[in-house]
Amino acid sequence: MDEIATDSRIGQPVRRKEDERLLTGKGCFSDDVNLPEQAYAVFVRSPHAHARIRSIDARAARAIAGVLAVLTGEELLADGLKPLPHVPFSMHPAEIRLANRDGTPLFSAPHYPLACDKVRFVGEALAVVVAASVAIAKDGAEQVAVDYEVLPAVVDTLAAAEPDAPRIWEHATSNVCLDADAGDRAATEAAFARAVHVVRFSTQVNRVTGVTMEPRAAVAQYDAARQRYTLYAGSGGAVRLKDDLATVLDIPAAQVRAVMRDIGGNFGTRGMIYPEFCVVAWAARRVGRPVKWTCERQEAFLADYQARDLAVQAELALDAQGNFLALRSSNVGNAGAHPTNFSPLQKGVEIMSSIYRMPCAFVRARAVLSNTSPTRPYRSAGRPEVMYVLERLIDLAARECDFDRIALRERNLLRQAELPYTNPFGMVYDSGDYHGAMAKALELGDWAGFPARREQARRRGKYRGIGVANYVDTASGVPRERAEISVHPQGRVSVVVGTVSNGQGHETSFAQLVNEWLGVALERVDIIAGDTDIVKVGGGTHSGRGMRLISIVVLNASRQIIDKGKRIAARLLESDPSRVRFDAGRFEVAEGGRAVTLFEVAAAAERLGDLPEDLRGPLTAFSDETVKEASFPYGAHVCEVEIDPELGAVEIVRYAAVDDAGRAVNPMIIHGQTHGGIVQGVGQALYENCYYDPRSGQLLAGSFMDYTMPRADHFPPFDTHISEVPSTTHPLGMRPAGEGGTTPALAVVINAIVDALAELGVRHVEMPATPERIWRAMRAAAGTASGNSSTPMPQAQ
């Protein structure tokens, strides 16, 4: 990008204020917090995927010099700790609810911070050793003798749903813990009955994990005199963490303070309270010293919440012209060992028809428990999976029913005039130019020039393919957010918000709002978000709610500051408030040109004792809003790949993206978000896989030596474009821009791979599309086509 910011207002690609601090090691992440006298926690984790805990003998561990405590589930229950307060669904008013088809209440099971009766996945914590050093705590952990009764385990999604599968929770009738219907079954059946074409697609969307650059860490302190806990730990937001910790500790929320400064990645897998955070706080009280825990990378692979893992069987019905008639699907999400969060399933179902005209649809949505780490929303929860399914179905329909891929999409893509549009699940898409986004992506990706590039590739002995995918996201999340703006006479403005940055650049983009509305230089704006002694309300960073909600409350609060300021300025300027105008940080009286600055006004407010009561004192204002509208970011991506016909290795050679942000506050940050999002999506499509051994339930991809991360040298330069069609449901026209990179990436990569191999008769390649999988697909196709199994070479023409 060669754009250079000319000022710091909305729309400018301002360089991120926080980067110098973060890049020069001056950030303050959770592990950077150290408290006097702190002790260290190390967790005893299950080596088994499924086992009953017969007994735990901690005597040898307790006898080690320097070990301060060994705590198990028994002590935890005796001390009255409560299970983690999971909220299984997004409760946003704009979203659909999933309920059991037979009317039974939602299954629940207590998720205690330490396993009490059984361990249900490899790596589940069942005891903690607190000691004077990490090394001593590790010595202690090795000495904790656990008598396990090993039980049969199940990790695979569909296998776990079988009635005779090993039962994760005994009080359940099966591992299927949610079985819901969505859509109109009868209408869908009828539409399928009269369809001319039906295409079918089954897939297992691979399980991945968030792999935050900064592993989790927590330091907790208990102030016995004030009976108050302080927890320093990175998460999606401080307020939620405080409330949840209080719930687990079974104390009033006022007795907890949560603090977080810099956070090296969240992506959703880190968005919730974790068992270890609760244990560290509890242990701090038990040992009477601050307790610190820093997650090691292998521990993170085992015990971080994981994501995706969805088995889908879907069908698309079309008429003779290619009009979509109906969508029918069975979606089975793997919840892992604890029923913590079904919102990826919910969010996937409710927009499974994407931004196409789909007269009716029906989905059976199930969640299944298994002996794996619990799953949670992860960057664009639930949507990349279903966009992948639908966009694969469309490509398959084009291939199998002889339609052009682009024409088929254009025919069914909703037109601007059809919006707002209620999709077959009841979601209302507000606004957008879907055709424009796809056209622009095809232009950027030079769809028209592809045949020539394919020919060139052929001459080099490579298969080349191109794919396109449209997408829509649902941005919802916790609807309430608050901002409090204070103007300090010393020349600074502080903005207290309830949504911390996990790396998205809030310190810059939120400050740009203040620059726009209050005319205050970026360097003078302090965004305060991560301390519940200051921040009282706020939903945290998730579901594209940061800028979307913060912009609303900051605008409201800014307006109040200006209104108050005008009245004070009128006093100072001996004029009438109605004649004072505010511009670029100055209040001025039009006729005389006399002016006072915002900071002079703030000083006057504190100094002048005879101001009306509502103006006297610090110049502050707050706005607290509950925003009931969801937002629907959308866009289209185009990807081009080359495949080595001998090895099956795939290389991404071009990637173009169009993502609509409605109104871009900082286009540079948005481009960065898109780049990172694409990489995470491609990571899932090509490389990442939390591979659990189906028999033992062991996590075999438990380190960077086995879990493949996407790397810079896997990618060409990206061609990303921000579209700005104002949203009709946001007062400033904004749409979230943090997840768009990921949402269509799975679909577009697999579509491109299959396109490259289409001439061989390859119909599909599962994710991650490893070289071996591609090689096997080529061989199988060649085997069916010609009866021999040697790898075919592309034919030079």
Binding site: A135, K138, E142, Q298, E646, L647, A649, Y687, N689, Y691, L700, A701, F704, M705, D706, Y707, T708, M709, T770, P771, E772, W775, R776
Partner: protein, 268 residues
Amino acid sequence: MYDFEYRRVGSIAEAQAALAGGSSSKLLAGGMSLLPVLKQRLARYDGIVDLGGIATLRGIHRDNADLVIGAMTTHATVAASALVAQSIPALAALAAGIGDPQVRNRGTLGGSVANADPAADYPAALLALDARIVTQRRVIAAEVFFRGLFETALEPGEIIQAVHFTLPQRAGYAKLRQSASRFALVGVFVTRTHAGVRVAVTGARDSVFRWREAEAALAADFRPAALARLALPSSGLNADIHASAEYRAHCVQIMAQRALAAALEPPS
């Protein structure tokens, strides 16, 4: 990591003395393989003897027909060495393809050879180039050095000082990387010397091995076509989450062809 006593020694004699004590001690070179094992508490030693202070273990020189590389020479040094590039360019290319820059700046030839990781790159070069491993006690031919999974002919207390490589007429290495670790999913080193053709394969079994059928075919006709009809049987090959035995067998054949193509490239 468990506690241990750390000693940095200045000579082979000192290292020997440090190892000879009654307690269990381990040599430390670049630490790229040893330290992760220690950090994860997968091994426990009373003493760690750091070879980093022995200057004579570092360096690259020519000794008549041999290229001699000191055990403590890092992968990055080998990759950047003009002498290696001139003598055995395939070896420089191999070193340049190990791991990532951090690993290449710390990891050493001696450490890699002593460690005998089944997916390491150097063992293929040593076997194909008929290298000799020089210790303070003897000279061991590569052919008998690599014995199995992380197993070598080294005796307790034996320290690799250098490796002698015979200069080949032609040599080429081709590696298919395991996507996560970047070790060899399979790697094939092809050489032609006055003594004949060698094809050494790493990553595919518990230890590096020679693919005799390919050697025979190439001895008759040192061209890619000679390999086209060969297939390595998949039985006994490694199978893991990254690749099946069948795919590995296929890749060995492809990598052998690519290594040969590299060997046939005119020197640049």
